[in-house]
């Protein structure tokens, strides 16, 4: 009888807590999605400085290139699993193109993120040297970005 009461109480507590907990989890995911998107926008911004020079759209400027590469290096050091909570994929949440495949292959995903870090490191060493060095490092860096986008990001809605 006592057991039964306790179970009922637990069930009741859960039933009451669930509607409160669910939106909160969704809110947390929303914040994580926003934060990681901001991080990636900063990648693109600094990549843009380097890429515009590499493509000859903007004149090569060693100082500006080095600054962008330093930023990119520091930004890519930051791999925070808290920005990638389970359930923040595009099947469960709005406003994200992150595919559930990320969480099904988390080890591979992390490894590919590691390739991005390596690429950013090589860019940091090359960007301030000269244009040819910058161009040489950009291929590997872009390749590392694409290596995740090809399997882990859905097409734009």
């Amino acid at each position: 009888m006592f057991e039964f009461k306790r179970m009922t109480a637990t069930a009741l507590a859960l039933a009451l807590a669930l509607p409160l907990a669910l939106p909160q989890a969704a809110l947390a995911d929303e914040a994580a999605i926003g934060a990681r998107k901001a991080q990636f926008q900063l990648f693109a911004f600094n990549l843009g400085v380097l890429g515009s020079m590499a493509q000859g759209r903007v004149e090569y400027d060693a100082e500006a290139a080095q600054r962008a590469a330093d930023h990119l290096f520091n930004l890519t050091r930051f791999y925070n699993p808290a920005l990638w909570p389970e359930g923040s994929d595009n099947a469960s949440a709005e406003n994200t193109r992150a595919l559930p495949a990320i969480w099904e292959n988390l080890e591979d995903f992390t490894q590919r993120y590691g390739a991005l870090q390596t690429g950013a490191e090589a860019m940091q060493a090359a960007a301030g040297t000269d244009l040819a060095s910058l161009q040489g490092a950009l291929g590997a860096l872009g390749g590392a970005c694409g290596a995740c986008h090809d399997n882990y990001r859905a097409p734009a809605p």
């Binding site: 890429g51 290596a147 859905a154 097409p155």
Partner: protein, 300 residues
């Protein structure tokens, strides 16, 4: 009264004969066969055709990363799955393996497959294989491609069957689809030689319209909305209209050689495989692609 079964039997037989005639697999014309046979095939030129036609985009093994060594894309073992509204297609092994692949084929059999969508045994291929686009290929390009093919590795991975519901699993009926799709065509090729080269690369070789043009209920491309963007046939999201709004020729060329968009986002999804292949073309070919694309309206 006793005549009715006979009439019915004759009608069924006539319908059967009609179906059989309408779905007969096509053969290459004698002129085409001769053009193939007399062409001095150049495997180096064939390599350009190989990357332009995107063979590896579907027939290389699944899961090859954007930045993987290029050699990985030369093993045409098949196995990529394409989940569509009609069922799931699995790209077959088309490596040079004589059992698992197409190593035992003749040039003529290869050309018939690529340009008419008919196997050496006379079976129709499903139009997931873009033979309707390849039908416009020059015999010289097909012969060069086949010469390059001989340098590709053999892979023994067996092909897997498509997973299609009845009656789509009956290949003979595809003969009817081929007839119904006959009127579908890209905008006409322009006179300017550079833009015409771009037209050939985009419409015939790279078969961009297969994803970027919406389809009707029969799976035919909609000629009135060419490259206007379409639902992603294998999942969420949309395949965008091309050229994207505001992109210049320089933007398109940079994207196809590096994967960088003008905003310095990086290509992903199935387009990543396309970019890797387009990046192998000479720069003037990517410029020609851009020149043709920019003649299109580029919006939904």
């Amino acid at each position: 009264m006793r005549r009715w079964p006979v009439v019915l039997g004759l009608a069924v037989a006539a319908a059967g004969v009609g179906f059989w005639l309408l779905t007969r697999p096509a053969t290459l014309s004698p002129a085409h066969q001769q053009a193939l046979a007399t062409h001095a095939a150049d495997p180096a030129r064939g390599e350009t055709v190989f990357w332009a036609a995107g063979c590896a985009g579907c027939h290389a093994a699944p899961g090859i990363a954007f930045n993987a060594p290029l050699e990985e894309r030369l093993a045409l073992s098949g196995g990529r799955r394409f989940e569509t509204g009609f069922g799931t297609f699995v790209a077959p092994n088309i490596s040079t393996d004589t059992d698992a692949g197409i190593g035992g084929w003749t040039l003529e059999e290869f050309a018939r497959a690529v340009m008419l969508g008919v196997s050496p045994t006379g079976a129709h291929y499903y139009p997931a294989f873009p033979y309707r686009a390849y039908a416009g290929a020059t015999p010289g390009d097909v012969a060069d491609l086949w010469a390059f093919w001989q340098r590709l590795p053999a892979d023994a991975t067996p092909s897997r069957a498509h997973d299609l519901p009845a009656p789509l699993n009956l290949r003979r009926g595809l003969g009817l689809w081929k007839r119904l799709a006959q009127g579908v065509a890209p905008p006409a090729a322009p006179d300017d030689p550079v833009v015409a080269r771009g037209h050939y690369l985009v419409e015939t070789m790279a078969h961009c319209a297969e994803c970027h043009t919406p389809r009707d209920a029969l799976g035919r491309l909609d000629s009135t909305r060419w490259m206007a963007g379409a639902p992603n046939p294998s999942g969420e999201g949309r395949i965008p209209a091309i050229p994207p709004q505001g992109w210049s020729a320089e933007d398109i060329e940079a994207y196809l050689s590096s994967g960088f968009t003008p905003e310095f986002d990086v290509v992903g999804g199935s387009m990543a495989d396309v970019v890797v292949q387009m990046a192998q073309l000479p720069a003037e070919d990517r410029a020609a692609v851009a020149a043709w694309l920019l003649t299109l309206p580029g919006r939904d």
